[in-house]
Structure formats: C-alpha cells, structure tokens
C-alpha cells in the first residue's frame, strides 16, 4: 500500500462492464521528501506520477488516502465475496482508507 493525495478524477464511457459505476481517482504517491514537508507547508502536494485507483469510499480531491495494489485492491472494492470466490473486477489499485491523521517521527526526510 502507499500513501497519496487525491489530485483528480478520471471518467470514461467505454469500459469493461465490471467497471460500470466505479469512481476512478487520480492519486499521487507521497515520497519521503514530500512527507518531510507535511506540516510545514500546507500546500505541499506530492509531485510524482499519478496512479489511477478505483474508489468506493467517496474520497475527494485534496484528501490523503491509502491505496492498495493487486489482489488486495480487488478484494477491497468487491462488496461481497463468498468463501473461495475470486473478485472479477479488472482493476489493480483501489483506495482502501481515507487518512484522518498522520504521525511522522521528527527529523524525517533523511534516509541516507
């Protein structure tokens, strides 16, 4: 999983049927250097390439979220799965939590 900020939404009309009704968000991951600026610069936005994620929680632009990849992402957005059933939705990234609070140890940003 990674921590990122929602920077936009993606919409599409032509898509695989299993994707109907799912909101797609553009999320930019935080790097270590970005996290060092959190708290000192309120407008510090992560500046890495965005990842498109499915979202069932209703996250909005500007919010910080946790994104899961792969099988965990498909499990997260499949509402009900019976035992042994495999999720069939063709996604590989999904928002699994909207962050309330971060605690980062002081002096972070130096990972040498």
């Amino acid at each position: 999983m990674f921590l990122g900020r929602v920077i936009g939404t993606v919409w599409s009309t032509v898509k695989w049927p299993e994707l109907q009704g799912h909101k797609l968000l553009l999320v930019r991951p935080y790097s270590l250097a970005d996290l060092a600026r959190v708290g000192t610069d309120v407008d510090a936005a992560p500046n890495h390439d965005g990842v498109v994620c499915a979202d069932v929680l209703g996250a909005g632009v500007g919010e910080d979220v946790v994104v899961a990849f792969g099988h965990a992402a498909r499990v997260a957005i499949s509402e009900s799965l019976s035992a042994g059933e495999q999720p069939s939705i063709p996604i590989d990234a999904a928002v699994v939590a909207i962050v309330d609070r971060l605690s980062i140890m002081s002096g972070e940003g130096d990972n040498s």
């Binding site: 921590l3 899961a68 965990a72 939590a97």
Partner: protein, 86 residues
C-alpha cells in the same frame, strides 16, 4: 521483501470494511525516496528497521494458510531487523 525503517503511523476511520484492524505504519524504503504503508502485527517502534512482505506473502503474515484470499492486505511487516552483515 522490502527493507526499510518505520517512520510513523496512519490513522483512518473511513476505510473499506475488509481492511484489518491492525495498526498501519509508514515505512521509508532503504536507499529510495519511497514510502510504503504496511500492517504492523509485531509492534515495531518508530526508527525500527524492518522487512516488509508484499503481495500474497503479506496476507500470510496476517493469517497463514490457503484461506486468506479474502484479506485486504498487500504489505505487512514480517521481520524486525536486529542486525545485518554485508
């Protein structure tokens, strides 16, 4: 597995129902400007060097065995590192 250092924690009340109740921590990946979010079942403290299992291996940290495919987990701390020779 990915070697890194615990640098903080994440709190969230709005999350998918299948997300496990375990603590979520921020791990700074060694020799990279990258941070991952992982489950912590070993009570790693801030500053601790850890190995994070990703993918299917991460689910085995939370629940070993073949019946864990319903878990929403793709990263979990598997090892607290005491020392290393290289």
């Amino acid at each position: 597995m990915i070697r890194g250092r615990v640098i903080g924690s994440v709190w969230a009340t709005r999350k998918v129902a299948k997300l496990d109740g375990q603590r979520l921590v921020l791990v700074a990946v060694d020799r990279a400007d990258r941070v991952i979010v992982a489950y912590d079942t070993l009570d790693a403290r801030e500053g601790q060097t850890v190995l994070v299992a990703v993918g299917s291996g991460a689910r085995n940290v939370l629940k070993a065995g073949p019946d864990n495919r319903e878990l929403c987990c793709d990263a979990a701390i598997a090892v607290l590192v005491d020392g290393q020779e290289s």
